[in-house]
Symmetry: C2
Subunit: 496 residues, 2 copies
């Protein structure tokens, strides 16, 4: 930041960066604001229809508060494990995002030529930016390195229900180590993330690429592994018969081997029994045996570290990501809503940034499906409907006393409460309607009588009760009522 | 969110939104990852040089942690006053961002034509999006309405030192009321924001457009008000002589009146003495008298509400934003770094969204200068250098015991600490170097002896001491040491 005072000449054609409202230095801000106000004189027919682009949406208060809570919880969990936050630009050189390939990526990029004639595009995930970031700052960050990154990404997909062109990803990764310890810890993070978000019934499914590779080799299917795994991936959707047909067609010998693969991938039982069976099958196959050993280690260490065993499940049928996951693979399902799919997925990869640096960067990480999780929480009624983050509304009965109401607000805040002072002196009835509408459970009223008596009226909109509280005791009373209530009940469902 | 399981066919050409790592459904993710790993086979000369675009930058851990802390503090303050968060898209229809005008705004927009042939652009501030948002969702949000919005914006400015093309704004506004109560509260929010961020020596300067309008009218300068105010705005930069020259040139009569304006704008003294003088000067001028009354009310109420009087200053020379601020105006300066300019500015406006709706939306709000504030905090040494958010590093002396180290990590986290388990089993010396480098103050070591004895070695990297702690007491000991230290000392300056 340059230390000189902000330039104040109207001739200054740059917009002030920080003081978003300094039009003396900001012809554009100046213009936008003046334009906004000038229109009062314009004919109404020249109103611009307010709308968002197809595939883009505004997020209103109740939804945004749920989103913020989810993000804060995730942040806390990531930080508690020592992951550090980073940020990367929304806009990157197109060559960086495209890497070597074209294809689907290219079609869905928001890409253009900027003022300097550069071929630029908006990031479509956080992985490529991370690859570039690691290569670019390798000396400074050192390895091993662990980061989390919560950021918006953009994809010009065909808009559909539930699919947006702008959405957030929440990734965490550990790079610069091949150790299974990092893989185990990734599992712990996923677990603590889900638990921290308030879920009790969830299952983290784990698999290992090397186990599948070993099985394919043992079944002499290695030369067809891509086709085999693609077909396997559809198992949950189209069923065994059709998957087998895809894998083997009419070739009976192939059908037998592919059938075995399906049997093994679908193996059930205790982890120990599955491991025993796998070790038998993969005896002599180094890759497969290594995979089994790592999975076994993962389950054992997670148990020692205190993860309830029923929350982890071995599932060898997970076939997703197999083109680049080279080790452990994770998927997370909500027991109460399995149909929405995995809400947190990830795995280990051999080399993050081979496109940008010759330094090998093996790593492991996962991605929290923010929007999917929020949709699930909505469906499971875990999202409060209140559109206010405040605990109590302080009504303004007498504007001549405004300083007093504002003072009360600050006192309540000093006691750790969130309080809104109604920003106006309109009729009490209107203020109470506002309270209802925003989902406030509590409102405070004070008029001449109360000021004279040194007390406040505390109204409970849910219980429809009202009590008189001595001024010094209001904060305590509210705290008590709020902790009885618990977060879901500390706001009343908004009226209308 | 559609409820059907994620499509798993490779033919599915859409990228999965949430599970950033589901290439079975995500040809593009799939491709990006495979591309990333394929390059291992490519010749090294085909490495892509990792770089960010001109005017864009990555944010590394230490900086990002400071940024996150600032944002979290601001969020807390905004919420404690009942402001609700919202989000709007990064991309808007160009017509919405341009409004009626072209000019500077147009030159600095990142604008392009999307796949659907739409004229789109990246938002350059949060005000126009808010105007559109309010108009678009008026029925649902109701008025009065108060929101905060922390978001990234983009401007294709000529990159200079300290100026980026991508930066964050942190705005809060109350709309739908003309009441001075909202203006007073805005002042309180600014105050609690600065205090919450850890500043003790700061000054919030307030002025009022109507006072300036009144003075201009009394001095018969109203017809030249734009020129007068533009020149006034330069007072701090080019000095009185030159400002007078700009205002009046050779015209002596004009010089006299302009000189009076400068005298009045620069008036000093106690608020009461300034108010008294202004009331005298503006007697009979309705606009000016109203402005004075509101300012007086503001100072009184702020005082009643508990704001230290030395933190508020009347400053009539604030001329910024005068093209659209129609009432109270705020600027905030750090006493220890006045040269960086205002770190939080704002004011009242008559109508937010006249471009989009005929419903008048008067309001008041301010913008926190995030990047400027961070730069100030950097300069005032308020930003810790540690690049880890964790309190303690748990070293891995014996990988066979990994479950135990991970378990300790979870125990410490359950006790409210942040703990990182080194993700690898490399030599202890290397792990301690890592600890140093990341800025850890504490490290825990446990080998055979410790496990046998039921204790841990706790190493203090700053004090260069080491003590043996019984296993059950480690969390307590760390908490005690960390609260003694205070946040700045709970990490050691990273080595190297």
């Amino acid at each position: 930041m340059d230390g000189s005072p902000p330039a104040k000449t109207p001739a200054n054609t740059t917009l002030p960066q920080d003081a978003g409202r300094h039009p003396g230095r900001a012809p554009a801000d100046h213009e936008s604001r003046r334009t906004l106000s000038e229109n009062d004189n314009a004919v109404n027919t020249s109103l611009i229809r307010p709308h968002t682009l197809k595939g883009f949406r505004d997020i209103l208060p109740a939804q945004m508060m749920a989103r913020e809570l989810l993000l804060e919880t995730a942040r806390q969990v990531y930080r508690s494990y020592g992951f550090s936050p980073i940020e990367t630009p929304a806009l990157e050189a197109a060559e960086i995002l495209l890497g070597k390939g074209g294809g689907e990526t290219e079609k869905q990029l928001f890409r253009f030529t900027d003022q300097g004639n550069r071929d630029v595009a908006m990031r479509f995930d956080l992985t490529i930016p991370f690859a570039r970031f690691s290569a670019q700052h390798l000396q400074e960050i050192g390895i091993p390195f662990r980061r989390y990154h919560m950021g918006t990404v953009w994809r010009a997909e065909k808009p559909q229900k539930g699919r947006y062109r702008e959405f957030m990803q929440c990734d965490f990764d550990t790079i610069g180590t091949e150790s299974n310890l990092a893989d185990i810890e990734t599992l712990l993070v996923i677990h603590d993330l889900m638990a921290g978000l308030g879920f009790e019934r969830f299952t983290i499914c784990v698999s290992h690429r090397k186990v599948l590779t070993g099985l394919l080799e043992q079944l002499e299917l290695a030369d067809r592994s891509q086709d085999m795994l693609r077909a396997l991936d559809k198992l949950g959707k189209i069923g065994r018969e059709r998957v087998l047909a895809e894998m083997a067609g009419d070739d009976e010998a192939l059908q037998t081997r592919a059938g075995r693969l399906l049997d093994l991938a679908g193996m059930e039982g205790t982890p120990e029994s599955i491991f025993a069976r796998l070790e038998e099958l993969l005896a002599g196959n180094e890759t497969g045996t290594d995979g089994v050993a790592r999975l076994r280690e993962l389950m054992t260490a997670a148990h020692t570290a205190g993860i309830p065993t029923e929350r982890i499940r071995l599932d060898l049928s997970i076939a997703r990501g197999l083109d680049y996951y080279t080790g452990t693979i994770y998927e997370t399902f909500l027991d109460d809503l399995p149909e929405i799919g995995s809400v947190c997925s990830g795995g280990r990869y051999d080399n993050l940034a081979g496109l940008f640096t010759s330094q090998p960067l093996p790593g492991v990480g996962a991605s929290l499906g923010l929007d999917r999780l929020l949709a699930a929480m909505q469906e499971l009624d875990m999202i409060p409907e209140a559109s206010t983050p405040a605990d109590v509304l302080i009504t303004v009965f007498d504007t001549a006393r405004q300083g007093e109401y504002l003072k009360l607000g600050r006192e309540l805040r000093a006691a750790g409460l969130a309080a809104e002072v109604f920003p106006d002196g309109r009729k009490l009835g209107k203020q109470m309607q506002y309270a209802s509408r925003r989902g406030f459970r509590f409102a405070v009223i004070g008029g001449e009588e109360e000021f004279a008596a040194g007390c406040w009226q505390l109204k409970d909109l849910a219980g429809r009760t009202q009590e008189s509280i001595p001024a010094g005791e209001l904060a305590g009373r509210l705290q008590a009522l709020l902790s009885e209530a618990g977060p879901e009940e500390s706001h009343t469902p908004p009226a209308g």
